[in-house]
Amino acid sequence: MLSKWGKNEGSNSVSAWLVSFSLSRCWDSLASSRCKLWDNRELDLIEGFKFFCFFLAQLCLTAQFLMCTQTINPWTIEKFFQEVAFTIVISSNLMCEAFVAFSGFFGAYRLFLLYDANGSFSFKEYAKYVGRKYFRLAPAFYVLFFVSWAVFPRLGAGPIWYQASYMFQDCDKYWWSQLLFIGNIYPYFSAPNAGCFFWSWII
């Protein structure tokens, strides 16, 4: 999975797809500009802020995951909550709001340019907009979902390791709603330490 400097990319579509998960390819993608030729490069700065918000949101969600599953240690957590630095970790959930705002900015910016170029916005363009977003997110999301649900809980052992699957315990019933990106709406209620990967909807 680790392609050296991204040069040993496969010649067929399967290996090309696998290489798209390589660390070097992901780093290159992260570090390179997403600006089109006609965009001002200042948008990279805003994209950087978006990434930073995503990072902080992930920090908070990872802490939430670790507090609810197999690494839980209530006494350590109680100590963490008294520290100011940990306040930043918990408060980072607010960065989800900033992430949503930046996502709205980039989506609307592209659509404004499209509308101005064509003078209208047809259903076909709407379908293209949704399709592009889906195909950009879905492959990595599905891999992450199935690995977290089916592989990760089998990677360890211990007295409380069974809790590794706590937040995926309803996936037997509701895996399809994750595939459709509606896991936060169906089922309507998910307990914070159960359900099926419910926090993933934000992407």
Binding site: N40, F81, Q82, V84, F86, T87, I88, I90, S91, S92, N93, L94, C96, E97, A98, V100, A101, F102, S103, G104, F105, F106, G107, A108, Y109, L111, F112, L113, Y115, D116, F121, Y126, Y129, V130, K133, Y134, L137, F181, I182, N184, I185, Y188, F189, S190, A191, P192, F198, W199, W201, I203
Partner: protein, 145 residues
């Protein structure tokens, strides 16, 4: 993904009539704020995330896309403003810029506004990240008001 599906609606309204876009956005933000207030009141949610009542926080607030419309619309309105700024920059002469985009021209030229926004933004970020410390350390230390 769910919120992204609604972005084109706002863009089309903004492009048909800019004032209608602002009005619609303000209406949705107001509705979203009232909805959030209602959810907080109904489930008695607390500022401290570990309060017992916050069992419902994820399920009914954090997870639902309709509680995020306020943030989404801020981004959409910012994109509208940015596109206006790009059009403003295309004009070569200052007098034309002042004539066609008087408010934007004032915002671009006013150094005091820039400093205020920069410092105000830093204060908002730091406040949001740190103000919850006492509520996180002790979930019931903040009153319900």
């Amino acid at each position: 993904m769910q919120l992204a599906l609604t972005v084109p609606l706002f863009v089309v309204i903004y492009r048909r009539r800019a004032w209608a876009g602002h009005l619609f956005s303000a209406f949705v933000i107001a509705g979203d704020t009232l909805l959030n207030l209602y959810i907080v009141d109904k489930y008695k949610l607390r500022a401290g995330p570990l309060a017992e009542e916050n069992w419902y926080l994820f399920a009914y607030m954090f997870q639902k896309p309709w509680t995020k419309f306020g943030s989404l619309i801020v981004g959409i309105a910012a994109a509208w403003l940015y596109v206006e700024l790009l059009n403003y920059r295309k004009l070569e002469y200052d007098d034309l810029r002042a004539q066609f985009y008087p408010k934007l021209n004032w915002c671009v030229k006013c150094k005091t506004l820039h400093h205020f926004l920069f410092l105000g933004g830093a204060v908002v970020v730091l406040t949001n990240l740190l103000i919850g410390h006492s509520a996180i350390a002790s979930p019931y230390s903040w009153s319900l008001g």
